[in-house]
Symmetry: D2
Subunit: 367 residues, 4 copies
């Protein structure tokens, strides 16, 4: 059992999630490297100190740079706003430290490209935080598709829908400002990543992006409330994705449907412990979508509970991420999803934005 000092930049929504994850991951997965909550940084020393005390870090940092440079911080987790991702990652790589960065990779495609270059030049472990794809159910879906259980895939439909801005009476705030915080910038990456992970690369897209409530309490909204895109996958399948933060009634609508010649899959994160599978086999009278409850027979479940159907939750996804990051560091080999996977997501989104402007099908930039 070897310790490793973890530094986390950010102590908000995701900063806390990662802090909890590193506190728990050793006991859950019996990891070779045992994380020590060494240091936390935030937008000010005061808030960093507050997070330190709350989450149980050894020390608080004046700012992210101090954290990255600290000799006892051997691995860096970036859970601060998009604008900070690139600089923090580049510094960490330059100091030989592996980096886990929250999605989206950077604030722009340029950032993302620079970060991938920095990561690859360094040869260090680099990962990006697409946590939803890590539920046992979605990991199993990937496996089923890879194993050919659905035959040739012909259709993909994905969505990421929530309703936190559905009420037009909510005043404008930081979320209603700037591309990075809009639906395409903030919500789309998870589902685009899912699409790539489950289906392979996207060839071309055609999108429609809009601000539904252009004015909130007299203040202009400068980014998008909902967006959709039709797409063509390199593997041949047709697809559609929809993203919304004004989807009244939807709380965690990360959902997908995948159709193949031999079967089909349906998944909805709002019931993350179930995967619906249809197999076009056996007597017609007995066919139907079956609701598979995740259990020890599915990827990464058993460490959380020996009983099937007992269920994992949001926090457990982050623990799985932490496990992979620690294992990647122990092995010295990157683990999926890396920064390159984050860049691939940014490129799909970038193509979608172009198609919205041109009104035409737009190819997605490859490597």
């Amino acid at each position: 059992m070897q310790e490793i000092g973890i530094g986390i930049i950010g102590g908000g929504y995701m900063g806390k999630a990662h802090a909890v994850a590193y506190a728990a991951v050793g006991a859950v997965f019996d990891t070779r490297l045992r994380p020590r909550l060494e240091m936390v940084a935030a937008s000010s020393m005061a808030s960093a100190e507050k997070y330190r005390a709350a989450f149980g870090f050894a020390r608080a940092a004046e700012n992210w740079e101090m954290l990255v440079r600290d000799p006892k911080v051997a691995a860096v987790v970036i859970a601060s706003p998009q604008s900070t991702h690139r600089a923090a990652a580049e510094l960490a790589f330059s100091l030989g430290k592996p980096v886990f960065c929250e999605k989206p990779l950077g604030a722009s495609v340029e950032d993302a490209e620079a970060m991938v270059r920095a990561a690859q030049d360094s040869g260090l472990v680099n990962m990006i935080g697409f946590n939803y794809i890590r539920t046992p159910a979605s990991q199993y879906a990937r496996q089923l598709i890879a194993d050919g259980a659905l035959g040739r895939i012909t259709w993909f439909r994905g969505e990421h829908t929530e309703d936190f801005l559905a009420d037009p009476d909510i005043p404008a705030n930081w979320r209603t400002d700037g591309d990075a915080n809009g639906t395409m910038g903030d919500l789309a990456p998870h589902m685009v990543n899912a699409a790539l992970a489950l289906m392979g690369p996207v060839d071309s897209v055609m999108a429609q992006i809009e601000t539904v409530h252009t004015d909130r309490h007299g203040k202009a909204v400068t980014n998008d409330d909902q967006a959709q895109m039709m797409c063509r996958f390199a593997g041949g399948a047709m697809g559609h994705m929809y993203f919304s933060r004004v989807a009244t009634g939807r709380k965690m609508g990360y959902a997908y449907e995948i159709t193949g010649t031999k079967g089909a899959i349906r998944f909805d994160q709002e019931d993350q412990n179930a995967l619906w599978l249809y197999k076009a086999e056996g007597p017609e009278a007995e066919r139907g979508f079956r609701k598979i409850l995740t259990g020890p027979a599915h990827p990464n479940y058993a460490a959380f509970c020996q009983g099937p159907g007992h269920g994992t939750g949001y926090q457990d996804q982050i623990i799985i991420e932490a496990r992979d990051f620690l294992e990647a560091i122990a092995d010295g080999t990157p683990k999926w999803p890396t920064f390159a996977d984050g860049l691939a997501v940014s490129r799909v989104i970038s193509a979608a934005r172009i198609s919205q402007t041109t009104g035409a099908w737009t190819p997605v930039q490859g490597d």
Copy 2:
């Protein structure tokens, strides 16, 4: 209680459904006009005679023309292939007889336009067979939206998906030949009609239409297996529709989701007696999609059963259509949906086909 002689052209899938409907409708709805199954026509006298005996018609007709001209046939129901719709309808109108025509209105937009003209010139009752929108659940959904229960509508997603051609091993047949029998020709009309009925007119569309299995047992497939379109409704909402006959696992996937600023609706014909409604009101902790079971409190249910949740079925939709046709004749006033509504559907589909060719957003022709 006044009798009316009904003539039905076609005794297949829909011909039978209408025959049963006219046998039952009087007892179900206590209609003023009581239908008499007077005459049936088919592709040959032999099959017409077979249908006559099976369904209980008084007489069989040599062909559809003889049926339309028969003096005891006072109203005509067209349930034969698309190619026959126009001529039969035009003849009936010219003889002063009201016409109920199965969807789609004609084999082409030109047919549809001619049929609307003929109907309007005649001043006679004319209806088109969009039966799915007539379930108590979908009628109630229309009512809720019209009453503003969802607030301003921002998003519509509809699909009509089945899997009768999902297996690539099914040989080519009449269904795999010709635009009218493809997914856009055959499946799309019902859901496009639903979109128009629930949401109002569509301004413009952008579609992707494809043949998934281009070859079946060595024979070319000449029409589309699946199609999707993004759309913009005149009322401002964004929308998406998807149609497929290769949707493995889907049997009657006529389904829609509608989001508004105050609520949302979800419906799936595979459980046609339930409507899911979310209302953004009351304490946050108590909010959720509620599964409303149809009952006497919903449109057209009570005539079938006094108990809520007891359920109506496919055949009952056709009985509701028959009721409306008979009532329209008794009143001498057309009832929704008329031929004009069928034409509106054809125009959306026509615009979608154009957009597929041009790769650009395409306006839908108005009146």
Copy 3:
């Protein structure tokens, strides 16, 4: 195509359902005997005349006796209150006429026994109206169990729950008076019949029966609002049934769960077109309850619609009953369920009532 004159006693809830069924059944099932709505009887001539006009009968009867005796009435359907069942059936048998009687068989076990004797002595076709068990889904469930698909059955749970008297503010009415109208008398028979049909005979029961709202607007309620019973089936399985008319939120809660060593089934009449099946076979990771949508592959579905998942409804169950009654008459052989099956149900309920009084397990009387 041979006609048969049908006389229906009662024109209320079920009288109408049967009238519609006989109007439609010929066209639906291409029956050998074609019913003619000959005569209807009710509590008065005036109401009989009203039903005649509404449902399309040829004639109205002064009273049920006149209907039964009418020479043009060749088969009798009894859809009037329990108190009338026995006398009407006995007279019909004495005149050589087959009888279809609504559930429950009579107003008491004695009535039921007398009716079975009369039926058996006459050698005539006799049937009882347990319609819910006739959905394609429940018929298929029976078949699966009979075929051993679930292995040895170990557990049965059934319920029939509705909420029409859930509100304590509903005033006392005819439903709140007399054993026959209570939960055990009125709701229990359908599910007890289902238990017998799916599982075989019940050996012994132990029940708890109660009036929840003993007083309604100052008037005493004299029968039961809810009841439950544990039971032991002759085949060895353990079971439980629950009945309630105060089950807030339940509209048509005719539902059962059946567990066997190789699989399990779940069904809920509120979604009557779905049967949930679990099979303990194949890889653990792929197991789950599958939602089978009824379709042409299931019993009695195809006559209603050629498309799977399109759905049958309440009225269709009554049409299936009418088909069986007509076929039984044409064949001269009784068809399940006969009066004897109705008596078997009454005996389970009778044993339950005794167990409630004695507080002890009570054997169910056999033949």
Copy 4:
């Protein structure tokens, strides 16, 4: 931030769950007392040492007694077999140490009574591990009922069903031996606790308990596979509970339905992030069971995630327990559920066993 040394007896299924919980709880809930994984004990030093390394404890103990006596262990968690609960708890109390004990309280009602006495005599914090009732959904259900949202409760149905012994081919093992490991001993306590927590005390019960597979590979099974009981709650409601380890297809079937005069609730642990609520208010046409997704508006959710519908899992329930134990210690006041609540459960089960023997309704012993 004050540390507290935690000693856990047992490192199996639940021992690990508690170890992870104490590793994470501080960061999740910002507890005043911060747990230090001080010591773990198991059936041998070797396994204790293995658990120490895997879960990150400071030290392993030779046996439970050494752990309880260790001066650095300030609070004891008992997660070893039932037979060890009493002695460990009694020793801990005698040394002035608070105790958290896994369910069931002891191996017998006598044990349970002795443990309650020891706890009460000591005046120390004592808790029992009924984790399932701690999901945000079930906590919210308790709150709704307590607030009168359902009106007067008339019916409760609960079950705890799993299928780990459904296959008759599984050989006999320790689980198939001895009352404590049977369905009533092992599975029933959670749901009986839920019944008491949601509904209040049980007055009397009438049970049916059985071994379905009496012989496994030639070895006798000495305890029960399934059991059911009817019950009467002190508050007046009728109830039923069912427990099974042979419920083919059920993985975590901890489920309940509660009916009141104004509403109803349904919950199933297999989808632990949803609570179904029906309210008998508003227009009939809009009523239905609503699926409420848990979120920050529900008890104990927000600490795990700021987003509704993102979901908590099994492990999170144990973290909530750990929080309550630590807070109770910090406050010096016991928190629900205490040993006395565990005893109340044992008494219901004891009465059920008696009723099975006598075949008669049996009162549940009170205080």
